[in-house]
Symmetry: C2
């Protein structure tokens, strides 16, 4: 893939890890990739915070804190939540809630809105559940940064200078990956790995432009078409 | 009040304390009251669990655990959440979530659905926020036991053998107390204490049948009418 003229961008909703950690993980899995090739919610959020002069109270995992190093968190005027894992204690949630309730115009930014994810130890509650808890308690609506938000996909496209209609998204989540990319004007392949479930191929609302058994098959398919 | 022929029932949404604790608290405040005069979500939930053969996984505060002493919690086929306070750790929430996801027909019972309450230390997240988190993560709808549910008010009326149209509810929450009681066919007074806010008197959806400055005024009013 790297030897072809195809441009590649890695888009993740992972909000527990910094780009450095993610790249380290992918390199160990054999991917030749650098931090500059990754679009992830944390740096996208930092961009938004800077543009709008927002100073966040952070309810995040320690692993991703380095991404927010340059952000002013004094006298917060918004709350940013990410997949904090064990960090979602009652005390931390209540603190985030209290910060929001003290604001005249409470702004809650959520890095993704996933319901849960799978670990070897079992299913794990994701940030979306805690986003809903704060939305309900405060009577507000969160701004979500990450897939399936169109802004997030556009950021990724801009980074490689490609138009939506020229791009193909490959992902395992039928709604957030495939549906999100399609709403953005991209074509989308679903891989039959990871989150994929057989029922996805008959999803009531989203239909992928194609299905592949794994990432290698998707890459082979792309290279085949690129050669023509 | 006790000397009149009026029948009295205390209805609370408190799900952190057992009836014993509640009565102790009220007695210290000068109320002549016994456990038998209290309608609270925990015993109402136990009734439902028994009727439907449900064995709960309990995510509750230690203070209310004694109310569930006689309930079979082995091999759970539902989840019961109450205001667990610090008990709402990530680990405990995730366990409740996993139990629900393993059930074919996940049943989630929530003792109240309050957004937050006020303590001297500040605003505190209530069980409703965590109910919403589990609803979203599991894609289900919880059954709420407590005000404003009509079943809850009816349980209280049955306990004293009074018809809704004969009863008057006195409470401080315009939606859950006043609105709930009125939907049940009762008349309702709002006290201008506790949760009361001046804007409640112009609430877009709920209008109390009367307002009183405090509980003493409400009692005086009732006795005055009862004497006639």
């Amino acid at each position: 893939l790297k030897r072809s003229h195809l441009k590649v961008r890695f888009c993740t909703n992972d909000s527990q890890k910094s780009r450095g950690e993610l790249v380290g993980l992918l390199r160990r899995l054999g991917f030749d990739i650098s931090e500059e090739e990754v679009t992830s919610p944390a740096p996208a959020t930092c961009q938004i915070l800077k543009e709008r002069g927002l100073r966040p109270h952070l309810l995040i995992h320690e692993g991703v804190r380095s991404e927010f190093e340059e952000i002013d968190t004094s006298n917060p005027n918004c709350v940013v939540i990410a997949d904090a894992g064990e960090g979602f204690s009652y005390q931390n949630m209540n603190k985030a809630f209290q910060v929001l309730m003290e604001l005249e115009n409470p702004v809650l930014i959520s890095l993704g809105k996933g319901r849960y994810y799978k670990e070897t130890s079992g299913l794990m509650l994701d940030v979306g559940a805690y986003m809903k808890a704060l939305e309900y308690a405060c009577g507000i609506k969160a701004e979500v940064v990450g897939k399936p938000s169109p802004e997030f996909f556009k950021t990724a496209l801009q980074a490689i200078g490609v138009e939506a209609h020229q791009a193909i998204m490959i992902g395992d989540d039928i709604v957030d990956d495939v549906g999100g990319a399609q709403r953005c004007g991209m074509r989308a392949l679903q891989v039959r790995t990871g989150k994929f479930r057989p029922t996805d191929e008959h999803h009531p609302e989203v239909k992928a432009d194609g299905y592949v058994d794994n990432l290698a098959e998707a890459v082979a398919l792309l290279l085949q078409h690129a050669d023509k």
